[in-house]
Symmetry: C2
Subunit: 366 residues, 2 copies
């Protein structure tokens, strides 16, 4: 869970160190328990509509040399995290990997090793990486809409930024940490959120003033969305009670982008409820749209076809909407892009396509 107060995070980390310490005191071989993070132990929770871990657990124990190193690394990492919290710094996962150069025998041998340990620690403590002050390389997704964000800046001052009036046409850049201690949502006078796959389409909707004319908050997904972007959308949706619409290209990879926004990802199954927005709806482009709007298309590749077939058995695509659309796409053998709507001119997407789709979804009154 997300901690608003770092004291709680420190307590959680201390408990991990305490467990190992107590094992030593009791002259037992130190060990830590955590849910098994293999695909077999991850299940799609039909009630919550997100991925969750099952009940299998794994033991990390000093019985083996590798296990002992792993526990040693965990202690160094816990120490590093506590230090960052104390001095109010954060670090990239890459920096932590290099920091470990100073950890003697506990040094990581690959970034994969340090990333995995960060995930382990998330699972063991039920904290999030953001609580540990660890962040990814970058992110930089953008937002435009009638929404005021209050950001706690590096200078420890609160700054209010209106995502139309206070930003340039490139919009507000989502910072790598979007937890409540960093950003809070103030006024938001909008009817829905549109999460957009490509920068070209995001800029099109901005240029056409769709956020202004249709009371929409536009969020750029930047392809497969970063964790902070998914968390931003989840918070915006739940705190401001806004419907979320996902607008992507029409191909199996874009459906996965939708699924990661709506249902979460296997990799982050332990924090799905913080990252996923199960109420998010897929707006388009759909295979039906290809036919109804006579869009320019490309032929499905072998990889596309295999991905579509695998989606037919994916628990996230089991409703009649998805089954129908995926089968249609396999039948017509075509895919399309959101920018293909430009076939009818630069304003078609905002003047015709989106209003029609939104009306169909009951989000726009005629």
């Amino acid at each position: 869970m997300v901690k608003k107060d770092y004291t709680e995070v420190i307590n959680k980390i201390d408990m991990v160190a305490g467990k190992v310490y107590n094992d030593f005191i009791k002259t037992e071989i130190p060990s830590l328990q955590l849910p098994t993070r293999t695909k077999a132990n991850i299940k799609f929770d039909e009630k919550l509509n997100v991925w969750k871990y099952g009940s299998n657990t794994t033991e990390r124990t000093a019985k083996s040399l590798d296990g002992a190193y792993m526990l040693l690394r965990t202690m160094y990492m816990a120490d590093f995290i506590k230090e960052m919290i104390k001095i109010k710094k954060s670090s990239t996962l890459r920096e932590m990997y290099y920091i470990s150069e100073g950890w003697d025998m506990a040094k990581f041998h690959s970034q994969n090793e340090s990333n995995l340990l960060a995930e382990d620690l998330e699972v063991i403590t039920s904290c999030m990486r953001e609580d540990f002050k660890l962040r990814p390389e970058e992110d930089g997704a953008r937002v435009m809409g009638n929404l005021t964000i209050e950001e706690m800046t590096r200078n420890n001052t609160k700054k209010k930024i209106h995502c139309q009036d206070d930003v340039g046409d490139a919009g507000y850049s989502i910072p790598y940490n979007v937890e409540p201690e960093k950003i809070t949502f103030k006024n938001c006078d909008a009817d829905f959120v549109v999460a957009i796959e490509t920068g070209g389409m995001f800029d099109r909707l901005v240029e056409n003033g769709f956020d202004q004319s249709s009371r929409a908050v536009l969020v750029h997904l930047k392809g497969q969305p970063a964790r902070s972007t998914r968390r931003f959308i989840q918070r915006l949706s739940s705190e401001k009670k806004l419907p979320v619409l996902v607008f992507t290209d029409c191909d199996p990879w874009s459906y996965r982008i939708y699924a990661s926004v709506a249902y979460g990802a296997i990799k982050t199954a332990h924090i799905s409820e913080y990252l996923a927005t199960p109420s998010a709806q897929y707006l388009g482009v759909t295979p039906s749209d290809i036919e109804n709007y006579e869009l320019p298309t490309d032929t499905l590749t072998k990889e596309d076809i295999n991905a579509l077939k695998s989606e037919l058995t994916d628990p996230r695509f089991q409703d009649s909407f998805w089954k129908g659309e995926i089968k249609l796409q396999l039948k017509i053998g075509k895919k399309s892009e959101q920018q293909a709507l430009a076939k009818y001119g630069l304003d078609y997407v905002t003047d015709t396509y989106l209003p029609e789709k939104l009306t169909e979804m009951g989000l726009l009154k005629k």
Copy 2:
């Protein structure tokens, strides 16, 4: 050249159409002349320190069917650009490709075709793509520093944005168009610009307040920098008379990032003087730094070695600094990353490395 006034752009486009029209009137086969855009006709201008076209020209003529289609497309494209200027819109290159669906026989068959024609038109008219209201998919590089930008927004109002006080910790997002009619640089109280390859390092310098403590404008290059980022740096450097320092990883690909900032790219040789900043200096990480700072390294791959060898014969890397550094790197057989400086802690880069390097370069008084 960059036109501040679209009348001039329209005149240039009309001249292209006029040439073809007059050929028809004179019952001559219509044709257009342009510099040959092959590698053989591109030379490194030792005086200007940028890539320029040579004197070879190519004729696009309606003598062949392909040539006739190309001229037809050029006319449609000219018309589309004039229309966009009139209605104050812009379009992505991808959108233009789809727009051509309505051009009947002039329809593009691939995005490559439409991109090439856009470049041809730049060369023929001596205008820039930005003058044509054509833009790339996205960009999203970020800026942080004591610099006020005035942006002409989509609502035709001028907005002043201070790149520290008016933005969140993610900084100011560089828009896709950074020409004078879109953004102007107002106050800038800084001593130099640091252009940074990775988002992780950009965020590190921001978090450590390096822009504040060292009077630096930080620009995120986002790997190989987009055209708008290079243009932004070129304008900032020339208009505000600021030295530009490029801070990247220590490998041959990063040296190419430096070279594209400093000398321009072959692809954009016709507008090198608008995109390149020949005074830009390479700050590091250098192969000497690997030795002097005992940085964590990886072994050079075969591709790395080949790229380094090819740089030894590249006109852009012919001075003693580069020759020495590249030879050293081939000798030690190692590469490193800018974030490897975290070996000595998160503050080392701003407390020790950058001050030492800047002092060495004469940019920081001891």
